[in-house]
Symmetry: C2
Subunit: 344 residues, 2 copies
């Protein structure tokens, strides 16, 4: 049993509450993580009853309302103070939970988490990060969608947030920071990208390694890659779509002839490992960075396995004291990285 | 032997001139396409001698200069009027060749092609398109990098160019036009994307089907997807990097055990077909749309196979009369599509 309790939005995602409750329970069972399921108590209790003997440390906190997956953020903000998302983020705010995980309406999670927890000093906008595999391990890409419109200075703040993340979670001492761009050399790219390049190059305490092209993302050139939320979102979704397309085509080919099917049977363990390596479900969730509290947003299509991975990740983040590059007061000041944790 | 002569930049690309000459020759041999190799005559003749018996219809046009792959466009524009790129585009301009193919410095190709051939009426900026596989066939994504900074109106012009392309090349009667965005519903995305959405929705003659997310690109929702050149470039390079990453991981896994190696041997034909389906080399080149002439830009890393595919594509474009959605005079006027071809 770890000391960090994770609150989970039982009502969030396409497969809620069944898959969420199942995933959270398996995280409690497999990793000893205490969990608090947030949402409609009756629905949650029904799932728990069906699950049989419960692992210890499972609690339920009722939330009377749910934000729909396709609901507009503005309506979620006005009318959903009793929603599972709002209740869950308040559990983090008051210290009852060390982190909150939701596969729900991501716009609403970002807005309500920001409202409830507040931003770190020096951060204008929180950023959604996502951990990607590369040839040697993994790297953090941010922002992947918290901000559809960004200013160049936001990306510098994202770089400091990513720097802290890479030190605390990826355990990289001097994280390499890259800028997603459409050419490698300085001076390449859009006006926006060129301006960000100059700002990053002038930012103290950052190990800025320059521009990185989409094709080189997986080449272990950087530990953190910053981009605006529009480009980052297109990049991760294109990568996701490409991976799905290839796996689908592969399945079609491997089932097209009897001898292929037999060979595929032999390869099954290898193919499953390949899928695991590129499957979002294995990576759990995307941390929302820059807030006074740990929030993870999981894929709306999350199954139990993805929720389990997200809860585990949230527990790791809590243990690493992720919140709190203690003061990105100004992006021109290198953040003091502390392993401890609260700044409110 | 087809009637359309294709000019090929023998000096362009990482593997020039050897791979380019070899690829062009195999296009001439396999498809009967007359080709004109443009570049340093001595170097080209040396490759031709080494190639043995030549197919008919092969010509050489000397160009005294070469634009380096990493050369700045401005220097290429000032000093490289005798470059293979400049000479090649002039062959299209004066009607000696029906199209020009280059794997050289893409910025220089775009700039020199625009200078030499001129833009179609109503087109502010040419766009680089790329044909991608999807679940049922293929679709055109543009702009994938001709313009790092775009205005919303450019994307509407790209939509008309793509509409014409889809009709003439993909043979789709009423092409579905999508906008690459970070949400499906109207009102989602950046300010820029929302403005483009409204313009596209109001553009006559276009079958605008709305927003398309990166993960749905391969789902056959649209025949043409428009985006700004920065986002489009990140998207195609991320897709390329993802595909390479998966194939690399697959290779590592399939060679990790003897029984996997044996099974992989059985699967070899299927795996090769998979690779062909997702390999850029099979798709040849990216058309530069919106000019008074057909220009294809091939990947800088093109091998002979990629050049062969590009020459074939250029020949198809010439046969389809691709240049010339006869007058995108204003993006508010639906273009008259003509199968013929010249507008200068």
């Amino acid at each position: 049993m770890t000391e960090f309790r994770i609150a989970v939005d039982a009502m969030g995602g396409d497969n809620a509450p069944a898959a969420v409750v199942a995933g959270a329970l398996s995280a409690a069972r497999d990793y000893g993580i205490p969990i608090t399921l947030v949402g409609d108590e009756k629905a949650i209790r029904a799932e728990l009853s069906a699950a049989g003997r419960l692992p210890s440390g499972v609690e339920v906190v009722h939330a009377s309302d749910v934000v729909a997956m396709d609901e507009h953020v503005s309506s979620a903000m006005r009318q959903r103070r009793g929603s599972s998302i709002s209740v869950g983020t308040h559990l983090v705010k008051d210290g009852t939970a060390a982190a909150f995980v939701s596969a729900g309406n991501s716009g609403a999670v970002m807005a309500l988490a920001t409202l409830t927890l507040g931003r770190l000093r020096g951060v204008d906008r929180p950023a959604l990060g996502t951990v990607f595999p590369n040839s040697r391990g993994r790297f953090l890409l941010l922002d992947v969608g918290a901000n559809a419109d960004s200013k160049p200075t936001y990306l510098v703040q994202f770089a400091y947030l990513g720097h802290a993340y890479a030190q605390q979670v990826l355990r990289v001492q001097n994280p390499r920071i890259g800028l997603l761009n459409i050419g490698e050399e300085q001076g390449k790219g859009s006006e926006f990208a060129r301006e960000v390049f100059d700002l990053l190059a002038a930012s103290p305490g950052l190990n800025f390694v320059g521009n990185i092209e989409g094709k080189d993302l997986t080449h272990d050139i950087a530990d953190v890659v910053v981009t605006d939320g529009f480009t980052g979102n297109v990049a991760i979704k294109t990568a996701e779509g490409t991976a799905e397309f290839i796996l689908r085509e592969m399945r079609t080919l491997l089932t097209s002839k009897l001898q292929y099917k037999l060979a595929a049977l032999v390869l099954r363990p290898a193919l499953l490992r390949l899928r695991a390596r590129i499957d979002y479900a294995e990576y759990g969730g995307a941390p929302l960075l820059g807030l006074n509290g740990i929030v993870l947003i999981s894929h709306g299509r999350s199954d139990a396995q993805a929720i389990r991975a997200a809860v585990r990740l949230a527990s790791e983040y809590a243990a690493a004291g992720l919140v709190c590059p203690a003061g990105i007061e100004s992006y021109t000041v290198p953040p003091l990285i502390s392993g401890s944790g609260d700044e409110s």
